[in-house]
């Protein structure tokens, strides 16, 4: 006998009462509305651009830019293309973001710990710092450092100096720069080798500890490897390193490493501002580890240092990582405030000068937004991987 498919449901409701039909209709309508809106916007934009005589497409990226940029990490001069200005801006954004993330993390952890200090005075000062800094707009802080503090420094001829090597004036901060002649490659190789060796030793030590219970002094050996190997290579290669001192040439300093005041102001403000948020995150992370955990590890006989390293910090990190990620993202996004003081970051160079000169608003804005989207996704991805490593492992 043939099997018949039987619809066991009672004669269903009218189709317009059926939730599945409704869902389908609803989605089709909303998709249609979005498509229509997108279509209209594109149509409007095209006709508007045509009437203003703006050509579309990415051809402008190959044209010569014709403007100078005060700071560039990749080689650049005014004859290069608009496409090159994009890379200059992007590298400058990444530079200040990376510097800011490092400084804000260190400062934030210090202040977060200070906030929990048993010393009343230190804890109060940390609290005052946090409450003061995070309730004042970042843009105002950038202006303060740039226009009120750094512009009031002495001129290059009267610059403050430390031992003839470090100069500070209203044109920036000048440090001695290392010159690495050939032969220094050996040192880089040694550093690389040391890192590989440390990773290997750690793996081996952990395996041995798991198998036999014997503890290997990993930290001491790692530090020794990291310092001794490059030092050895440095000596073998015949000390191939010289320092170039900054010197007054004409109206300004030349040579060495220079930090322009725009970068310094932005870096200071971003680090100080984000540190106040990170400090609160660190504090709540440490407080989230219950007292019982510390007591239990003491009862097991772990000394203070090990209690902190093996019990408190791993558990605190679980609470700290997710909000820390969003602070890093905020810092990268906030670095775009560079525009306000003229630090040549992506927004200032590309979305500012390049956009104004070419008038290619749609293309430039789309590229810039895509870059920030990519950076955000990359940081989230990286922090998610790290978070998975420290997250609670339930078995």
């Amino acid at each position: 006998m043939k099997k018949q498919t039987i619809d066991s449901r009672p004669a269903g409701p009218k189709p317009w009462y059926d939730p599945r039909v409704r869902a389908l209709v609803f989605q089709v309508i909303s998709l249609a509305v979005v498509c229509w809106a997108g279509w209209t916007l594109i149509g409007n934009t095209l006709s508007n651009m045509e009437s203003r005589g703006i050509s579309t497409g990415f051809g402008f990226l190959d044209e010569s830019a014709g403007f100078g940029i005060i700071m560039h990490l990749v080689p650049y001069d005014a004859t290069m293309s608009y496409g090159r200005t994009f890379w200059v801006g992007l590298t400058n954004t990444l530079l200040v973001s990376a510097m800011g993330i490092v400084a804000a993390t260190i400062l934030g952890f210090l202040i977060g710990v200070a906030r929990l200090s048993s010393n009343w005075l230190v804890a109060r000062i940390a609290l005052a710092y946090i409450e003061l800094i995070r309730n004042i707009p970042l843009l105002l802080q950038i202006f303060f450092w740039y226009f009120a503090v750094l512009s009031n420094l002495p001129s290059p001829r009267q610059s403050m100096e430390v031992g003839g090597a470090l100069f500070l004036n209203n044109r920036g901060l000048y440090l001695p720069g290392p010159i690495t002649p050939e032969g220094f490659g050996l040192v880089w190789g040694a550093i690389l080798l040391a890192i590989v060796a440390v990773v290997g030793v750690r793996k081996w030590a952990k395996k041995r500890q798991m198998a036999t219970g014997k503890i290997f002094p990993t930290v001491k050996v790692s530090v020794a490897l990291l310092i001794l190997l490059p030092l050895l290579a440095f000596v073998i290669a015949g000390l191939p390193l010289e320092w170039e001192l900054p010197a007054l040439k004409g109206f300004n300093f030349g040579g060495g490493i220079s930090l322009i005041p725009e970068l310094a102001a932005l870096w200071l403000a971003l680090s100080l501002y984000t540190a106040s948020f990170i400090a609160e995150i660190v504090r709540s992370g440490i407080l989230s580890v219950s007292q019982g955990q510390t007591e239990a590890s003491k009862a097991l006989g772990l000394p203070n240092g090990l209690t902190l390293r093996l019990v408190v910090i791993p558990q605190a990190m679980r609470v700290i990582i997710p909000p820390l990620t969003s602070q890093y993202l905020n810092l990268v996004k906030n670095s775009s405030l560079a525009t306000a003081i003229g630090y040549p970051d992506l927004v200032a160079v590309f979305m500012g000068t390049t956009l104004n000169q070419t008038g290619q608003a749609v293309e430039v804005v789309a590229i810039t937004m895509a870059v920030y989207l990519t950076i955000s996704l990359l940081i989230s991805l990286f922090m998610n991987v790290y978070n998975r490593a420290v997250a609670i492992k339930e078995r």
Binding site: N119, P137, A148, S336, V362, S376, L377
Partner: protein, 361 residues
């Protein structure tokens, strides 16, 4: 009784005891206290001198600012500009009325047992923007029109933050509901919208609003700069708002959804009558925090050429008649923002403590 009875340990009480436990408990704490204390004592005095004791408050013009201290006279003389921007002097009562109404609606929210506090809050969210919409631009009911390019200062900052938060709330609710929806296309659209706006900095959004929005609109249709900035801020803020509200939606136990469904409520009534009232109440602190963030971020509009409070100060400190008043200007703006933000954040912390029902020890 023998003489050699051991005496009880020395007991310290009062300030001495407090200092021994809080400042000098160990050798490194003592060292820390001394170093920090020294730095504080050497710096606070000169700072106070500059801020208050040597400062100039009264006078007629720049020539009176000769002392070592701060020149608050500058702020005094430009205060009108910092608060109202270019708003005509004889019409400033309209802005004052709005300030007063704003205070009437929201200051009672800080006071626990204020009668009718809820109704004042509702008025602040509904009636107030309507009155403001009539009063500030004018042009109807016999009020003289004041175009938006003349608005500025603190007033503009408050308008941007207030409208930004008010307009982004309903959009945020819809986006959050969409993101939690079972319909894949709706969910996808909402996720893309939220994530894209959250990933880009506010500056790019403002640039986009001021440069690209005119390109998007059909020919002949255009908005003023302020409206364009507001559109950008609202879209950007609604993405953040959606994430806050989604947190609240997720915190409501499944049983509530199922119970509402079992009562036969449809989707909108289920959400409107059962889920959202509970979820929104849960996320009030979160909403207040996003408001603080937005309030600080409104300063960015000066980059696209609007004169908010920072913009007005920034444009006047360059005045050559006054010598180097940058620090005074920035301290003044910082103080304004700090008072607002710190006050509101204290309020939200209070709320959080009150709404927190977890039984942590």
């Amino acid at each position: 009784m023998s003489e050699s009875t051991i005496k009880p340990p020395k007991k310290y009480t009062g300030p001495v005891k407090w200092m021994r436990t809080h400042l000098f408990s160990t050798w490194y704490n003592t060292l820390l206290t001394l170093v920090v204390g020294y730095v504080l004592i050497t710096n606070v005095g000169p700072l106070l001198n500059w801020l208050l004791f040597d400062a100039t408050f009264q006078g007629a013009g720049p020539e009176d600012c000769v002392g070592e201290g701060a020149c608050w006279l500058f702020i005094n003389q430009r205060l009108n500009f910092f608060i109202y921007g270019f708003y005509p002097d004889e019409l400033q009562w309209r802005v004052d009325v709005m300030f007063a109404l704003l205070a009437v609606a929201f200051v009672p929210q800080f006071i626990e047992r204020f009668p009718g506090r809820k109704w004042l809050g509702i008025f602040g969210m509904t009636g107030l923007p309507l009155i403001g919409y009539i009063l500030i631009p004018g042009g109807i009911l016999g009020l003289e029109a004041v175009e938006s390019s003349k608005w500025g200062g603190l007033m503009l900052t408050l308008i941007l933050a207030y409208i930004g938060i008010l307009a982004s709330l309903p959009i945020g609710v819809l986006l959050a509901l969409g993101r939690r929806s079972d319909m894949p296309i709706i969910q996808g659209l909402c996720v893309v919208f939220i994530e894209v706006w959250r990933a880009v900095p506010l500056i790019t959004v403002l640039f986009m609003a001021s440069v690209m929005l005119p390109l998007f609109l059909p020919e002949g249709m255009s908005f003023e700069k302020l409206v364009r900035a507001l559109i950008g801020i609202t879209l950007w803020q609604s993405a953040y708002m959606a994430e806050v509200i989604r947190g609240g939606l997720q915190a409501i136990p499944r049983g509530q959804y199922e119970a509402a469904g079992a009562l036969g409520l449809g989707y909108w009534r289920k959400m409107g009558l059962v889920i959202l009232p509970q979820a929104l109440k849960l996320v009030i602190p979160g909403i207040v925090n996003t408001f603080i963030a937005l309030f600080k971020d409104t300063t960015l509009v000066l980059i696209i050429g609007l004169f908010d409070i920072l913009g007005t100060v920034q444009s006047t400190i360059a005045d050559p008649a006054w010598q180097n008043v940058a620090i005074e200007g920035y301290v003044f703006v910082a103080f304004c923002f700090w008072v607002f933000c710190f006050g509101i954040s204290r309020y939200s912390q209070n709320l959080e403590r009150k709404l927190d029902t977890s039984h942590k020890t």
